[in-house]
Each structure stands twice: as C-alpha cells, then as structure tokens.
Symmetry: D2
Subunit: 223 residues, 4 copies
C-alpha cells in the first residue's frame, strides 16, 4: 500500500443490475414547514431523472418512509428521545406520504421503517435478492442520517452501493459534505448524477430495443 489513495476510496464499480432506492423523501423531509426539512430542491429534480431512467430500464424501484404509529413508540423510544423532531412523522399524516413530485407507482414498494437504515426491520434485502439485484443506487434524505445508514447496510448485505451526489440532501452543509467523503472512502462510489443517469441508460438500451421489436412491452410484469 503506497499511500492514502491506495488505502481507501477504491472504485468498487457498478453492478450489472441495480435497484433504485429513494430514502425518506416524504413530505416530513421535503416540506419547509417540517422541523425535519432538508434542502431538497436539487435532489427532487435529480431523483425524478433517476426514477425515469430506472423505470425505462425495468429495474426495481423502492421507496422508504419513516412512520410512527402509537404502538411503534416502544420499539423506537431511544431514537425518538434523541431526535424528538421525528415525532412529526405520525402514521397516517401527510408528513409520511412520499412527496407527490416523485410519487411512487402502484407496483413500487413503499417500505415503512422506524430507524435509519432502509434495511433494518424491513424486507428490503429479501426484495432485492428476489429481484436478482447486485447493486443499489441510493438517493434521498438525509445524507448524514438515513442515506448513510442505508449505504453502510447495502454494502454489508453484499450489494454494491452507489450514491448520485446531486440526488441526496441534508439540512446541514458540513454534515452533508463530510458524509459524502466518508461514504466515498469506505462504502460507496459517490458519482455525479450524469454518471448514474448514463449507467441506467446503458442498462435500458437492450430493454428498449426489445420493446421496439415486440408489440406490447408495457404488459410485461415487473421482475
């Protein structure tokens, strides 16, 4: 090992079949009236482009939302004690709905979660395995919270995580930048949005070709 460059921050590379996960882009994180609001303007536009690309490539798309019902308070007590603002995310309220500007389609799972990682206490890993996925394009909010926890868990579960820089958002600029550096050094390839869009387009190309050669591609079931 000849230096810090060689020790950390290697390129893990993209997989052959990614899924796109949109972490916690619920109104509670995207509406300026919420105590949890992040600076999401750029991220919303970036995520919309990635959603279009993933759907064209017929790749799995998964959303997550943090949501607390009355009966969830036992399990999540320590988290709620640390971050009381999370109590905003009451089950059934508009705060836990995915921002309508990037609304999920009916067949796209919206996984409820109580904690930071999209994998924890949810069937996300099972879903990705059953869908034959080998990598995870992670987007959403916040960079220094649920996005990072999801990236760490993706790697731990055996999936190669990729973060599109413009598609993640935070409410604290210093935390945003340091967490991007941490993730890029150890866990994920942090890449420009255009790189991620290009990757999805490459995967979509044969799908589009097959669709053009066939009369009714729209009826094909999701994988």
């Amino acid at each position: 090992v000849s230096g810090p460059q060689a020790a950390f921050g290697g390129r893990a590379g993209f997989g052959r079949r990614p899924a796109l996960v949109v972490v916690d882009m619920s109104v509670g994180f995207t509406d300026a009236a919420s105590p949890l609001a992040c600076d999401v303007d750029g991220a919303l536009a970036a995520i919309a482009r990635l959603l279009a690309g993933a759907r064209e490539a017929a790749l799995p798309v998964v959303f997550t939302t943090v949501s607390y019902g009355r009966a969830d308070e036992i399990a999540a007590r320590a988290f709620l004690d640390k971050a009381p603002a999370l109590r905003t995310l009451a089950a059934g309220s508009r705060w836990v709905e995915i921002d309508p500007r990037i609304a999920p389609r009916p067949a796209e799972p919206v996984l409820g979660k109580l904690f930071a990682s999209a994998f924890f206490g949810t069937p996300l890993a099972s879903l990705l395995v059953a869908a034959g996925v080998d990598s995870l394009l992670v987007t959403g909010a916040s960079t220094s919270g649920c996005v990072r926890a999801t990236v760490v868990d993706a790697l731990q579960h055996g999936f190669r995580p990729v973060v599109a820089r413009e598609a993640v958002a935070d409410r604290d600029r210093a935390a945003h930048e340091q967490n991007l550096r941490d993730m890029d050094a150890r866990y994920a390839d942090v890449v420009p949005l255009e790189t991620a869009v290009g990757w999805l387009a490459e995967i979509a190309a044969p799908v589009r070709a097959a669709a053009e050669a066939s009369p009714s591609p729209a009826t094909a079931p999701l994988p």
Copy 2:
C-alpha cells in the same frame, strides 16, 4: 418544536445495565506501521479505564476484530474493493489480534466480523439480549467507520448507545469531529470519559458491597 436544539440531540439517557464494546482495537488499527492506523494513544488509556470499570461492575465486555480469511473474500469483496487497506487484516496474522495493552480476558468474547457494524453477521445482539443488557457503551476505532456503524445498529436493535468521547479514535480529525456531532445529534449520547467512568462506578457500587459481604466473589460466573 421550538428550534434545532429541541429537534435533535436530545439526551436519551443511560440504561440500567450497559455492556462495554471495544470495536476493532486490533494491532492493525493501533500500530503505526499499519496502513489502517488511527491516533489511538488517548483512546487506549481511556478504554483501559472503562474496561476496569466494567469488570468491577461485572458487566458484559465484548471485543470485535475485523479478520479476513481466504474464504471471506467472496462475502467482503465490495468492502475490500473500496478500502484495499483492509486486506492488511489477514486471519491468523498479528494485525487481527487485540492490542495487548487492553487484552481481553478468557471469558470475554472477541467477535470476528467482516464489515463495519459490530452487529452485522455476528451474534452480538443475541449475546446482549441473553445478558440482559439495555444499553451499549461504544469505544474503539475508527470513529467515522466501525464505531459509527456500531452505534447506529445499537440504536436500531433497541439498545441505548453511549459514546465516551476520549475512548474513540480516528485517523482523520475532521471526520472524527463530524461523526461525533452526527452521532450525538441522532443516535447516541456522546459524553466525556469521566461521565462514563462515573456511570460504571455507580453500577459497580452494590456489586462491590456484595463482594465485601461475601467470602469469594471472584468465583461468581459472568452473567
């Protein structure tokens, strides 16, 4: 919610019965000759004090070490690709042994792990549940890597994490500081070493009193 202070960074408080986890204080992270070396001088001294306190209080003590055998390369490939320096940690080498200055006792588990979190792919959560623990005092290295991943997972598993500031170490000062801020805002109470030492002493007091009233306390099995 009246401001950022109220929104994040609440005090989750200590539990009644913590365990002490010493994350990755193997020679590969403590010896300056390693490409993974962290600035551990202060942390080694701090951990030694916490080990003494936890042992006097008869609390569970657990060590972790990252170690890769030839057959682990499949599972950990993406992590090894991102951080090639991890290949230093060859199973059976001195790099994966816990630093002798804070050596484990024979009944104290040393859990091998392949990834960042001490919980992932290990029986740590089962051990803590079986030992009747409700909180986890997290120490070790690196602050911005395996310590943080362990703190996030502790909270997710239902344990209250506490970080003793002087007992965690990193190789990058900015990452160290930002990750302490992130953990304190969302996941753990980050406290001065003396506060953690005092907490353990409080728990030890009745244990010591019982020992003084009884002829052979040293023979009592660990919980």
Copy 3:
C-alpha cells in the same frame, strides 16, 4: 451425557419479564372459509386467557399478521409460489385483520410480515429489547409454520421462548404434534396453558398490589 433425556429437551426455564406474541391469528387463519384455516377454537380461548394475564401484568403484547400488497409480490415470490393459498392474505382485506374475538388494543403493535418468522423483516426484536423483555410466550397459528419459525428465531435472538400448548393451532394434526415435540426438544419449553397462566399471574401480583396502593395506575404509560 447419559441418554436422550439428558441430551435434548432440557428445561430452559421462564424469564423474569416475558412478552406475549400472538402469531397470525388473522381472519385468514381463523375463518373456516379460508383455504388457510386452522383448528383454532381451543387456541382462541387459550389466547384470550393469556392476553388477560399479560395485560394485567402490564407486559408487552404484540400481534402479527401476514399481509401482501401488490408491491410485496417481488419480495415474497418464492413463498407465494410454494404456498399459493397465501395469496388470500391481500392487504386491506378482512382476511388480514386480527380475529375480533382477540382484538388488539390501540397501543398493542400489529406487525405486518411477509414470511414465517415474526422476527423476519419486522422490528420485533428491537421492540422486545427496548421493552426490556427476556423471554417470549408464543401463541397462534400455525404450529408447524409461523409459530415454529418464530420460536426458533426467538431463541436465536437471545430470548427464552415458551409455548403454551393449547394456545397454538394447526390444520394438520400430525404436523402439529411433531412440531411441538421438535420445539420442546430443542428450542422452547412447551408447557400446559395453566402453567403459562400461572407464570403471568405471578408477574402480575406485585403489579396488582402496586395498583391497589395507588389511586390511578391505569394512567401509567407502557414500558
């Protein structure tokens, strides 16, 4: 080891603080019109007694229900292929509601799950840890399916599982009996209903005494 009696089937014993889990007693498993129906008459009565006992002792009570929305079909495909009758359990239908004869109270979690174990892909373990539980009284249906999978996982997570024999149900008598034998040999103490009722009453006694000594115990929050 002197014989099979010594080799397996030891008494693991009760814990000091159990939770009660009611596995999959939704209409889809309790209504004779469902292809998944089990012989639940005795179990419903037994569970009602255990619910009363657990509530009097102020112990955590958790229900589970298997429920599939359109977007869950990716994750659960292999399970749905093996047991097509599971498709009965459509999200939002009456089949996934807990049988009204043993209806949950508002603060009692009803965890949705896609698979057999109540722990898998759910926050059950976190909930039990946060509630300070050390053991799990497992009831519900079916004995040879989700009950057994939950018992194995309870033990693996560090909780002592106990099965009240009359409070579990199946649709196949031979499978029911063999699975009770398997669980009792390896994983759980399988005990008569009266033993479990007595255990809860013992825990309830000081709770009741405290309530009688205090004017408004009912307002105390759940742990």
Copy 4:
C-alpha cells in the same frame, strides 16, 4: 383454490445460479460416539456427489459448523440449556471439524455458528448476495433442526431453497419425515438426489465447454 394440492406444496422451481450449503456435517454430528450423532451414511455419499457437481459447475460451496468457545456461552445459554448435548461441540475440538470424508477446500468458507440457522449471526446472506446466487441447495444435519431452520431462513432472505432428500440426515425417523413434509409444503422443493445432481450438471455443461476451449481454466478466480 380447489384443494390442498393447490393451497400448499407448489413447485417454486430451481434458480439459475444456486449455492450448495453443507449444514453441520462436523464430526460431532457424524461420529456414532457423539451424543448428537445422526444417521449420516447415506447423506455423506449424497453430499459427496453434490460437492463434486457444484465444484464442476464452479458454484459457491459453503460449510457450517456449530462451535462453542468459553465466551460463547452467554449468547447461546438458552440453546445450551435446552439441548445440553450441544456442549459436546467445544471450539478447537475434533467434534467441530467437518467430517474428513467431505472435507472443505481451502477457498470454501466454513462458517461458525451458535444457533440453528446457517444465516443467523453469520455473513452467509452477504456471501450469497455477493456471489450472485439466487437459490440454495441445502444438505446436512439434522433435518429437523439446523437444516429446516436454514431452509426457512433461505426463503425469508429471498433465495429459493431446494433440499436433496438423500443428502439430509436426522437421528429420529419420524421427525425426519415430518420435517421433509413441512419443508416441501411451505418452503422448499424437496427433490430426489438425482434431480439435484442433474440440475448441477446442467449448470456445469457450459462451464465445462468453456474450460475445454481454453488452455488454463483452473486459474479462473472463484466468483
């Protein structure tokens, strides 16, 4: 749903890329002198054939062994209390070594575990994901213990489990047969050994063809 045949026991089908897992075929389960001994004569021969097939097809092969060191007793206490015979499996003893008649190759992982499922507290799921596997051929002992627990967890993690009937063993005939029925009804395709051998041969065919067309196939790295 027209009858029990339609309700359960569907054929989930094989995957495109299985891994082979050999569960707990350590001396402690295969030597008649052990209190844990199973009737393994047929299973050893069957597993040897499947190992040959999986290696020829360049598929991942994983072994597991249950092994308890002094420090593992906290985590596994409830299991050891239920099945005291498990104490035979002392870390470092010959009882925890894989039976030499089906010895692992150096690059084949031997995962240590404390509990029943090969997935629990181990990096097995991460390994399978990183290896691009979609299904799991489960073999070993005992049918009614660790094999079944592994099969349930494979399905839950999103992998299609297949059991080769002659390649699993138990010490109790009734338990063996009932657990095969339970697994085939709900979780796995239980198939004759020859079917599994044929499946591996099909996968091996193009691998063998490529090897014959290339001068030094033996140097290809494991997936």
